[in-house]
């Protein structure tokens, strides 16, 4: 199993957000995590990626056979965990080209590989930008500075393509996207998906799942996964609304 989360309890500022979450993800699978606001979906992403301030009070996160609780965010990233941020941050003064070159070569160094040559790097960058229909003009701009909402999300998928993760978590990647950008983003994800990697797609709406078809759908409520099923669960959820889940858990 690629990712195996057991009885995960996470507190933020002393308040318990995740209350015993279990999740198993195999290579080649796409999992969707749905649920109303404030149920801990983004906290789950933060805990898997090792964000500071998210205290794991109980439970384990096994990834590629290692319990990664306590591992630094950069080591987790270099082990192949990628997060597409809900709100990608702006980094004034750092070009996307310089940023990505540093990131790609950090991973290569971690793997004991030599740094990519400038030519190979530029070639790869061009190829991956084309995949998400990012114009080359963006490469000399500062990371996310002055990007539109859609460009920011496309830029996340571009970075994902550059870093070729084993486990990609997409945190509300569909929010703020028009239908064209949504299609481009989904298309990028589908191109990257193969039998050796897995995706965890956190979303509020079923809309994205028309384009990225999940093998499993999990519904989160109050810090736990309360219902799991196939892709039809997302449709059922869309029809019945989250009230259905809330009523079930009262």
């Amino acid at each position: 199993m690629l990712l195996n989360i057991k009885n995960l309890h996470v507190s933020v500022g002393g308040k318990e957000i995740l209350k015993g979450l279990n999740l198993g993800v195999n290579e080649g699978e796409i999992h969707a995590i749905m649920g109303p606001n404030g149920t801990g979906k983004s906290t789950l992403a933060a805990a898997i990626t090792g964000r500071e301030g998210y205290e794991i009070t109980e439970g384990e996160i096994w990834y590629k056979g290692k319990n990664i609780v306590g591992m630094s965010p950069e080591d987790r990233a270099n082990e192949g965990i990628f997060l597409s941020f809900q709100y990608p941050v702006e980094i004034p003064g750092v070009s996307i080209q310089n940023f990505m070159r540093t990131a790609v070569n950090s991973k290569r160094e971690y793997q004991g590989l030599p740094a990519l040559s400038t030519i190979d790097f530029m070639k790869k960058m061009k190829e991956k930008q084309a995949m998400v229909e990012i114009t080359e003009k963006l490469q000399n701009r500062f990371v996310n500075v002055g990007y539109s909402g859609g460009e920011k999300k496309k830029n996340e998928i571009f970075q994902m393509a550059m870093l070729e993760p084993s486990l990609a978590i997409l945190d509300e990647t569909d929010s703020g996207l028009d239908i064209d950008a949504l299609r481009i983003v989904a298309n990028g994800v589908n191109q990257l998906h193969n039998k050796d990697n897995a995706f965890v797609v956190i979303t509020h709406y079923q809309r994205l799942l028309d384009y990225i078809v999940p093998d499993f759908v999990h519904v989160m409520y109050d810090g736990r996964i309360v219902k799991s099923g196939g892709k039809h669960l997302a449709i059922e959820l869309e029809e019945k609304g989250y009230e259905w889940i809330k009523e079930m858990n009262l």
Partner: protein
Amino acid sequence: MFTVMEFLENNIVVERNRYRQLVVIDDTEHLQAQEEHCDIVVDENAQLEMYRIQNLDNTASLKTHIHIHQQRNSRVHFVVISFNAGDLHNHIEVDIDGEGCETQVYGLYLVDKKQHVENYLKINHNVPHCNSDTRFKGIMDDEATAVFNGHVYVAPGAQKTDAQQNNANIILTSTAKIDTKPFLEIYADDVKCSHGTSTGQLDQEVMFYMRQRGISMANARMLLMYAFAAEISNHIKIDSLHETIDDMIKRRLRGELSSCDHCVLHCSKPVGIRNKTV
């Protein structure tokens, strides 16, 4: 240990319609204390591009007083970069005495240990229709302290003045201190003036974003600090000097530059002249 005290006085005139570049490098191989006065006149339609690179021994003291007088349609572009400070005071005053002038003063100070740097800046808009832009940035580490004192004066009748002033600081430790006072004094009503100051630590959101991409904490800090500093060093228009200073900033941020006991310019020698004007 011997002490050398120097007192320098310079008078410089950039004549009408001339374009002059001036590079001044302060280092302290033997100097312990120095005070310097420099009076510069930039005549009508003349342009002065001036760079001052300061890299002092941690125990040295340097006080500079630069007074620039600008005549009609003149331009001043002044960049001062302080790598190591010891005890450093820069007093820069610009009197804009003729219409149609442009004044740009940019500063960067990178200080650590117990170093201390003070920048006093006064821009006097004495006449209408002139622009000034002053930006100073600092990165403070260890127990370093700094003062930024910026003063823009707009005289009565100096209409259509456009004056911008900004001071931004990154503080890396809880023991480093910055005292920043940007100040506007305006006696004309049809002007565009702004001032701002920001002081903070490296943005934790940005740090996490970079680390999530596999970039180590040390490298993420370096990238951010370099980006912050480069916004000032990018104003150096002499390519070879820009390259050298960029290189020095990178080494300084890696902690290599401060380890040079006397003078880093022995390694780099961008122009090969010290304590002299070119």
